[in-house]
Amino acid sequence: MSDNAQLFLDSLWPIVEGAIKGTIPLALISFSLGLIIALIVALMRLSKSKVLSALARIYISIIRGTPLLVQLFVIFYGMPSVGITLDPWPSAIIAFSLNVGGYAAEVIRAAILSVPRGQWEAGYTIGMSQTQQLGRVILPQAARVSVPPLSNTFISLVKDSSLASLILVTETFRVSQEIAAFSQEFMLLYIEAALVYWVISTFLAFGQSMLEERLDRYVSK
């Protein structure tokens, strides 16, 4: 028992370090890039062009229909066979960004559609270009609706980033596996890793409610 407590304490810093140097930056960068991809894909999906919209559909279908593990595998281990060899971190960031892009695209599309048509028209009638309508009227309002589902995507990403160990990125889960392999106490170490993920998720959820509150300032009640 006390052995376990000792092991728990000794492993805490290495695991947290794995989170700080691996999980968190990986998740942050991939999420930011993923959002940009998602916005582009969402607009493609909403566009009148059948080609663009079909491309977006296919992209979303592949991303959401296949396991992330395989996506990582293909990018890291498969791409070299077509001459593209990327380092672990770039591979991980590309794979996770594309993944977030696919999931968040549907969220953003729904959020854009949830803004009443009259808002587009109000923008149009005062002379705005389509870009202005989108940027100054629709997206600020869509942001409000999309915070909760996007924060879900973010939290999922944090946990999914444990798969990055498969392509040589050291992060929280990998560190706990290493310690477990040495101490043979994988249950304890996995729960410890889970705890770290839970803390990160809880922080994110807290950030989410702060953000929601801020974005809600122009809404009654």
Binding site: P116, G118, Q119, E121, A122, Y124, T125, I126, G127, M128, Q132, R136, V137, P140, Q141, R144, R217, Y218, V219, S220
Partner: protein
Amino acid sequence: MSRNDANSGAGGNFGSQSQPGAMKRSDMNQGDVLFDVKGLSKSFGDLQVLKSIDLTVRKGQVSVLMGPSGSGKTTVLRSLNSLESPDGGTITFTGGPSFDFSKSQKKPERALLRDQSAMVFQQHNLFPHRTVLENVTEGPIHVQKTPKAQAIAEAEALLARVGLADKRDVYPFQLSGGQQQRVGIVRALALKPDVLLFDEPTSALDPELVGDVLAVMKELADEGWTMVVVTHEVTFARAVADQVVFMDGGVVLEASTPSQMFSNPRHRRTRQFLDRILNPLGE
């Protein structure tokens, strides 16, 4: 942009085309024609919503559109602001641009038509994420590139005129329906368009708040703004309109002065409709 040179400086009044000797309101056929709508038609899929609409709007006059639900009033207004693209017909501005909808419209053409007018919506459609002042200055600053200080000064003057000077920094949800609608009007005015379009501006309001909005509209009319108003407020039409246009099933059944329309409508359908709204219990 045509809306910029039509008016200048918002001072004590709404900055309109106010004419020193206001025209005799009751004579709908006097005054310069501002624009002429001819044969306007529009279908949504199989449903023909407008069937060759003709409409003449004179400078400084108030035209009221009435008619049953679904008769196409909103579609006419939206076509004027180019929120809809008609399938046929023309709109010709006297001494200005003209638009032929039988040819397909390009983006700059649609923008040019839009810029002649500004729309006040039934559901006001204020930007909920912007303050009152930002709602009003959004167009002048970000579209018309008016210097910020000037746009703000003009917006403040207009807000003061509708009694909302102290609301400049609140968000729309903090306003009553009537106040929201007045901001909607000011947002349209700030663009200095040639024509103001109103689509049932009071029908979503509490009865006690209707008066505030109608009073502002009457003032605008008195100052000589050209207005096209869809409304069923008979009192307003009687007092303010130069012409009342009655629509049914996508056509203009008749257009005449308010006194003529309300006392002696020519069409059976018009009479029946006015009867319905003037005596809801049919007594």
